[in-house]
Amino acid sequence: MRRRVPDFVRKILFVEILKGLALTFRTMLKPPVTRQYPRERRDPKPGFRGQHAFVRNPETNREKCVACQKCATVCPSRCISIRYETDEHGVRHLTKYEIDALRCIFCGYCESVCPVCAIVLTETYEYASYSREGFVYDRERLLHNWDRFAAQLKRPAYFNMFWRPAGADVKRLAVVRRLQQPVPVRQTPDAGIAGTREPRAGQGQAPTQGDR
């Protein structure tokens, strides 16, 4: 066994301080880790849970939501409120869908519970607003969010990893989810890019208390 240098010798020779100095000197020679944010944007990793959106169904050009209320039920922060009407065939029609993004905790339960893969947390992470109302997303706003996200997506199709959670038994998933293919993304040039100004408050419906 190597004999340890006596403690007072280490103190006199500033061994610990010299070790620290060596560490900082080595760090200085390494490239810095700083990312110059507005100029260097980071691509989100798959599974990143960002801004809420309704997937735009390429066939109907509308949202796919069937007003089953599962997302509103599972939501731990109860930030989703849904209203619907039932027609004579017993089919539900969505009349109101609102997410309060300021209350959302981005757990992703809504997108993993949705039987038709309608609601999704996109990879958009730049969606600041000047007002609180700017964070209350109604149907139109959620579709707009999708368009905005789709326009800047670099891949030709989008598949959210929460639609088929890792380790889930595929046979037990809802039929639509089982058959869900990556959604082809149409590049819509007028949808804007990340960082552009959002439609201001008041354009969607004003949030009302106690709609559940």
């Binding site: 301080i17 100095l21 900082t24 760090t27 200085m28 390494k30 810095p32 880790v33 700083t34 110059q36």
Partner: protein
């Protein structure tokens, strides 16, 4: 006529030294931020000018245009006077530093003592700043500074006594010339104990990490600077950096051989004589400045009682021992 010419020359030299020092101080802040940034894995200033090179000027303009706030209950004359005392006394020390051979504004025979005296005078400015601000943080910062500088000045002076004994002079030029035939051409080899004590004291004397207790921002907001803003704040800042340069210059002159090169080197490579002495001087000064920043990026701050313990229980006895041994060797062995 002769007299006028001499006066004109001196004034010009003073102006040049003043301007060059200010420029060096401006870029010392840039150098410091870059070095510390890189040591912490960051990049430091990059926005203003090419690679952030105009950052010091942006800072200067900013501090000039800041609102000048004076606390209501402050002692106004002293509050105005404090930064002037600090800057004036620190700037005065620049006069006796030989930047190259015969290159000092005033070649005093007691140059080092003069620098010490001026450094102590600067502490008055800091105490006055703390006192006149009428703020407990500023006051505590000022008191700490006084205690700290008094303690470390002793160790510093005694550690330099070894150098004086070896050089046989207090004149900075003579000290530099006396080092030429030393091993490596510097006293730092023979006087290594004194050198280490001096370096540690220099950190304490200029209130730099790990001894930056007078402005310990985690506990005292900004210490004696707390109530100052705008241009007066900039003056304190300026004084701090100039005193760092002066300490670096003292280390370069008294321990690292100043502007001169070791005798064996100039004999082996005679063409090195052609390089102006100020190049070697600045090289040594900047090496020490880098060391200042390097230590700041590495070490945390000492507690106040630790600071006092290091000063009185370790540095002063070691410095005294060093002085006595040096004197003994000089008396009986040489």
């Amino acid at each position: 006529m002769e007299l006028l010419l001499t006066i004109g020359k001196s004034v010009l030299f003073v102006a040049v030294v003043f301007a060059v020092t200010l420029l060096h101080v401006a870029y010392a802040t840039y150098f410091e931020r870059k070095v510390i940034g890189r040591m912490q894995g960051r990049i430091g200033p990059v926005e203003v000018g090419f690679r952030g090179l105009l950052q010091p000027f942006a800072d200067m303009v900013k501090s000039l245009f800041k609102e000048d706030i004076i606390p209501n209950e402050a002692d106004r004359p002293l509050f105005f006077l404090a930064p002037v005392i600090v800057v004036a006394s620190v700037m005065t020390s620049l006069a006796v530093i030989p930047f190259f051979n015969n290159g000092s504004i005033a070649n005093l025979n007691v140059g080092v003592l003069f620098i010490f005296a001026m450094a102590s005078l600067a502490v008055y400015g800091i105490i006055v700043a703390g006192w006149s601000s009428n703020s407990k943080y500023a006051f505590l910062g000022g008191v700490r500074s006084a205690a700290q500088v008094i303690s470390y000045e002793i160790a510093m002076g005694i550690s330099l006594a070894g150098v004086f004994l070896m050089a046989g002079s207090l004149n900075l030029s003579d000290i530099v010339l006396a080092q030429r035939e030393q091993p490596m051409g510097m006293f730092a080899v023979v006087q290594v104990v004194g050198f280490v004590v001096f370096v540690i004291s220099a950190f304490a004397e200029t209130n730099r990490t790990p001894f930056d207790l007078p402005e310990a921002e985690t506990e005292l907001v900004a210490g004696y600077l707390t109530e100052y803003s705008g241009f007066r704040y900039a003056l304190f800042f300026l004084a701090e950096y100039i005193s760092m340069y002066i300490m670096a210059a003292l280390v370069a002159l008294c321990y690292l051989g100043g502007w001169a090169l070791p005798g064996f080197l100039t004999r082996a490579l005679p063409f090195l004589e052609l390089v102006p002495g100020i190049v070697w001087f600045l090289l040594k000064v900047y090496a020490f400045m880098f060391f200042y920043f390097w230590v700041r990026a590495t070490l945390p701050r000492y507690r106040f009682d630790q600071l006092m313990a290091i000063g009185w229980k370790i540095l002063i006895p070691v410095a005294v021992l060093n002085m006595v041994i040096t004197a003994g060797v000089k008396r009986w062995l040489m």
